[in-house]
Symmetry: C2
């Protein structure tokens, strides 16, 4: 097992130029899954023959592109189990819109990828392709690992706390958490409706931008640029920075120095109090909503739920409506403050996680560096490229103003080669 | 067939005082359904024996309360067909949270109620209990008719345009569209995620407030008051008022004069331009989102869809992302303007529909008077009591500031007896 992501941009260039057929591209991905997934454990279901035949015959801007779909998105041709024993073998009638949209553009869904239970904290079996003793992160564990191990060129995930950006950072690939509700979350199992955000994984930033552009029809993939002059980038100093691993602190510093060398103006941004308060409110919003969203499961199927999610849901059920309302007000103030920050900044540069992927598969790591931006709904892009001395990936995030997804992807693409340089 | 709604407040008083048993209450409702639903056509599925047995044995603040659930909410014990041939016989695994919450409080779900196709504009078979030649309104047709005909004491509906307030007005019952996302929409078939709002029906305003309070645990049912002094109520003059039927114009005027006589100060409110623009943006938001939400159905099952929804979805699929984004900005400005209005007003008084229920079952009527408040997310309560000379109900709406649901229900309850007086 090793990490060898497929570049979607290169794959599309080969397909467009006729150097590769749709069938050959998909056969190669299937062979890769057959060869390495026993060790990685990224997939929980594989596409049936009929779907593969349809994908081989597909046309459209994503024809020949193999993708994986986190198993909380409903699929008409494969079970959707949400990482839960309750939903074992559960077969939806329709594809979730994001899946249907990707298929309509020609993409081949090669399988469903492993998720923590209900996209929460009880881990699944997936390991990190960079080192199988380490977690790939979660909750979109299988999607991140499948892309990192080169089994698919893109994958769907979701983020309620830090479930796209954190596994992308741990697995050394690009992760894109769009502006809230840019990608439809319909047909995706709800955990917390104010927070749940559909997101994408691909090898690099330009790849994930292309995937998003071809699914949505939005102009999200900007031309490549190496010139950062004219950009003002903030180093966002959060109240949790004291918990950063020294390796991540160094990675953040390297990223900052290199983007400055490319011409950007760097400024230090102290975390506004209302934004720290908004992060603190995340747990209340999430807990209250999750206890309602999974009310039936929590009350009717307790014996078939993992300990972490059950504890979280029971705690959520004890939250009073008035406390939830206060947390929503704090979130609203945090969103306004985030928008105000970008009046004088093009982007923020922040660590994508506290450090590299922790050892062991019992925990998927800490989402604390991601929660705030999930709550505010700002677009976030994980930029891969840096590593620990042991070879574990370290990602940094570009955050931009709400709705400025194209800018987040463009700035992420600009700094990506700067990080990869030795 | 005749309209004879069950007062939930009176029913709960009888149950609490031991004058009525849970089983007797539910048996009476079942008998009423058996007697009149063949003519009304409110139900598309009835509760199975096991569920009735569980409801008979239930305890909690809603034990003995028979309710109906619009057939776009998932139920674990009954099929959920969304009024669509595509979903015929479709059996979900779990109850939607709102259903699970009501059952956990003891409520008896006696059946699933008829909905227009995917809660859109293709009508179902339900007729108006006040006159079977007239529509009950839609899309929550069965829920409104079931309450109006006294088959259940409460019912669940949903509103994306005017699907709670309009049928409540047409059927002469109370309808409550809460602040956006006060009631969870998880497990409810999505049509447009920025607009879809779960709502409630009951005989009168105090009844619907009690139902909401006992489901959510929020203090929504205020003590009754007959004194409107100290209230400032705005008569919201929309740019669509010229389409009002003379009977509704008169009903609105009567309601205004009576609340003024009870002590309220009345002010005329000209519709702000940004709010008219927000209403105009409703169709773009709804169309774009619906085309995505029902992507699979629209592309894979066209032959099993009605003409109105198919035309709406195809039109929605042609909307450019930039136009959708502009519509969302217009909606945001409309929300801000709505909040600003309530700086000097306690409530707005507006017509709940253009007129009484139109004749015929081919159309469920026009949601134009409701769309703006769905888009802005303000709480709205339909207050019944007035009628045309022919005996068809005419409702007026109380609208309050976002989050002020208790006030909307309290003011609605205050004016309800004023309207019922001859």
């Amino acid at each position: 097992m090793h990490a060898a992501p497929i570049s979607l941009a290169a794959l599309l260039a080969d397909l467009d130029a006729g150097r590769l057929t749709v069938a050959a591209s998909l056969a190669r991905a299937q062979e890769r899954i057959d060869a390495v997934d026993a060790a990685v454990g990224a997939f929980v279901a594989r596409a049936p023959e009929a779907s593969l035949a349809a994908a081989n015959a597909a046309s459209g801007p994503l024809a020949g592109v193999p993708i994986g779909v986190k198993d909380i998105f409903e699929t008409a041709d494969m079970p959707t189990e949400h990482g839960s024993r309750i939903y074992r073998g559960h077969q939806p009638l329709a594809d979730a819109p994001l899946v249907a949209m990707a298929r309509a553009r020609g993409a081949a869904v090669l399988g469903k990828t492993a998720t923590t239970e209900f996209a929460s904290m009880d881990p699944c079996k997936t390991c990190n392709p960079h080192n199988p003793d380490h977690t790939p992160g979660g909750s979109s564990s299988g999607s991140a690992a499948a892309v990192a191990a080169g089994m698919v060129a893109g994958a769907f995930g979701s983020q309620t706390g830090g479930s796209v950006i954190r596994p992308a950072s741990f697995c050394g690939i690009a992760g894109y958490k769009p502006s809230f509700r840019l990608l439809p979350t319909v047909g995706m199992k709800t955990f917390a409706w104010s927070l749940d955000t559909a997101g994408l994984f691909a090898a690099g930033v330009a790849d994930v931008a292309l995937l998003a552009e071809r699914i949505t029809g939005r102009a999200l993939a900007a031309p490549a640029s190496a010139d950062a002059s004219g950009l003002t980038v903030g180093l966002y100093r959060s109240t949790h920075d004291h918990d950063l691993d020294p390796s991540m602190r160094e990675a953040w510093e390297i990223a900052a120095r290199r983007i400055e060398a490319a011409g950007a103006r760097l400024v230090d941004v102290a975390e506004p109090e209302v934004m720290a308060a908004a992060r603190d409110a995340h747990g209340t919003v999430q807990g209250f909503e999750a206890a309602q969203a999974l009310f039936h499961e929590r009350t009717q199927h307790r014996g078939r739920m993992g300990p972490k999610i059950l504890a979280a849901l029971d705690a959520g059920a004890a939250i009073e409506p008035a406390d939830y309302d206060a947390a929503r007000r704090a979130a609203r103030l945090g969103r306004k403050a985030a928008t105000a920050l970008f009046a004088s900044l093009d982007a923020l540069l922040v660590p994508s996680a506290l450090g590299p992927a922790p050892k062991g598969l019992g925990s998927t790591g800490d989402p604390i560096m991601n929660k705030l931006w999930t709550l505010t709904g700002n677009p976030v892009v994980n930029v891969p490229g840096l590593r620990t001395p042991d070879g574990l990936p370290l990602g940094v995030s570009i955050v931009t103003r709400f709705g400025r997804d194209r800018e987040a992807l463009a700035i992420g693409a600009l700094i990506e080669p700067l990080l990869a340089a030795r």
